[in-house]
């Protein structure tokens, strides 16, 4: 794997962001709105609960984690969709670029865009609502890693889906985080769910992050072994997503889908 082609993919996104405020705005606007809305909601719940439950920590912290995860996923998907929107598949895939380099380029873009969103959220949540994010301590590292890896996995999977099903399937990619959210227990413990939903939740790495975050905020500590399991699950998901993208790319090359993708759009 070479670094310069990977840098090329990431640089393209930087060029696009620099020249178009409409690409930067969604990265900060939606997360900022989420933090403001849920920040006030948490503050209100704190006041009516008489301080029995730390809503700022558990609710606003959950929103921050979840938004970070969705930004990672969207960062990866958006970088891929740039090639769909600009009918660039032939130009990209008729080069020496390896699939692994292409995916790493998408991931690099996802890192950049999600970090921008994370910084905005942290500043707002800390400065306005007094969220002590760093109080999560060492647990932060595996939590962010899990959300980051799972975001990459879903972003790559969404890219594979759009490549396989065509540009119109883009709308299927955006609701993926919303579809998963009931199962991972962003705002409630997994034990609230019926058994079949709980079983699915245990397969989703972010569920361990939210369970442990709530446990820590409630003063019960956290489980390193559970976080280790979630990191391993997330890594497995990344590997599966990369495999799926590679398989779809092979299918697209074999059937002519890749070559037609551009020609159809151009026509």
């Amino acid at each position: 794997m070479k670094l310069r082609p990977i840098a090329g993919i990431a640089l393209r996104q930087l060029y696009l962001m620099r020249s178009s405020p409409t690409r930067i705005l969604p990265m900060v606007a939606w997360v900022a709105i989420d933090i403001v809305v849920w920040g006030f909601m948490s503050r209100y719940l704190d006041s009516v609960s008489g301080g029995k439950v730390n809503f700022i920590g558990s609710l606003l912290g959950a929103v921050l984690f979840w938004d970070f995860f969705t930004r990672v996923m969207q960062g990866v998907s958006m970088a891929f969709l740039e090639d769909v929107w600009s009918r660039n598949f032939i130009n990209i895939f008729a080069t020496p670029l390896l699939i692994s380099e292409y995916l790493m380029g998408l991931v690099s873009t996802g890192i950049t865009t999600s970090l921008i969103g994370l910084i905005v959220m942290l500043v707002l949540a800390t400065a306005v609502f007094g969220l002590h994010f760093l109080a999560l301590g060492a647990m932060l590292v595996p939590c962010l890693l899990v959300l980051f890896l799972f975001g990459i996995a879903l972003g790559v999977l969404a890219a594979a889906m759009v490549m396989r099903l065509g540009p119109a399937s883009e709308w299927l990619a955006w609701p993926i985080p919303a579809l998963l959210s009931p199962f991972v227990g962003v705002f409630y413990p997994l034990r609230t769910l019926p058994p079949w939903m709980r079983a699915i939740g245990h397969l989703l790495p972010p569920s361990y992050v939210f369970e442990n975050m709530r446990s820590l905020v409630a003063g019960h500590g956290y489980s390193w072994s559970e976080l280790f399991v979630s990191v391993a699950l997330a890594m497995l998901d990344v590997a599966l997503a990369a495999w799926a993208f590679r398989a779809v790319h092979r299918y697209a090359v074999r059937t002519g889908l890749l070559a037609r993708y551009s020609a159809e759009s151009a026509g």
């Binding site: 310069r4 090329g8 020496p96 090359v253 074999r254 070559a259």
Partner: protein, 271 residues
Amino acid sequence: MPPSPPGAGAPSAMPLRVTNLCKRYGGVVAVDGVSFNVHAGEIVGLLGPNGAGKTTTINMILGVLEPSSGAVAIEGIDLARHRSQALAHTNFAAVYAPLPGNLTVFQNLRFFGLIYDVPRLSARIAALLAEYDLERLAGTRTGLLSSGEQTRLALAKAVLNQPHLLLLDEPTASLDPSAADLIRGRIRAMARERGCGILWTSHNMYEVEETCHRVLFVSHGRILLEGNPKSLPAEHGAATLEELFIRLAREPLAGSTTSDGPTSAPGTVHA
């Protein structure tokens, strides 16, 4: 065979070897046993009516379409087995693959320069901007360029990595005669001075006659005829290349032969 880095050294004697290439979509045969070579410094015209299999052939050479059977070797490197190394020696420009319109001219060249891992990229881009008269447009978004300007940019991108094999799919289709003439001149110079092998498709027979050393007539996925575009019409009783093209497109030759290949199917001549 150990691959050499892109743009390194002179092209080998045969930048492209296509052997018995086939592409089938279910029961439809798009390309049917096509074989040909492109030699260093040679401009080969791939001619044929719409739907003949030209673009399918080019897509297979570019690695974006997998052949049903057959092989492509670029600089002696098997494309199926060493895709990345083989494609490092090639590049292309095609009307159906425009460069991203939301990037500027400079950004497009930098983006693709990094993808192709072009050494000394800044200097290379500066040279190409000057050579293709794009300096004043460097900061302009590609989508805002005229057809001629976009073609010049597509060609500048196509030679970024100093390819040993260049694939041009109707590169002058949207150009005025003067601009097309300038582009043809540049492409001829590339072949002559750098020894680059060029595979060119065009529907402009004047252009083909003026530019190509050799032409391959393709119809229904097969190569029907091959030869020198200047002498070929007379050899087959046609007044011009265009007349020969029309005749071949409507009624493929029967029982013809080429200079260096046996006939393997009735009415079909292989290169």
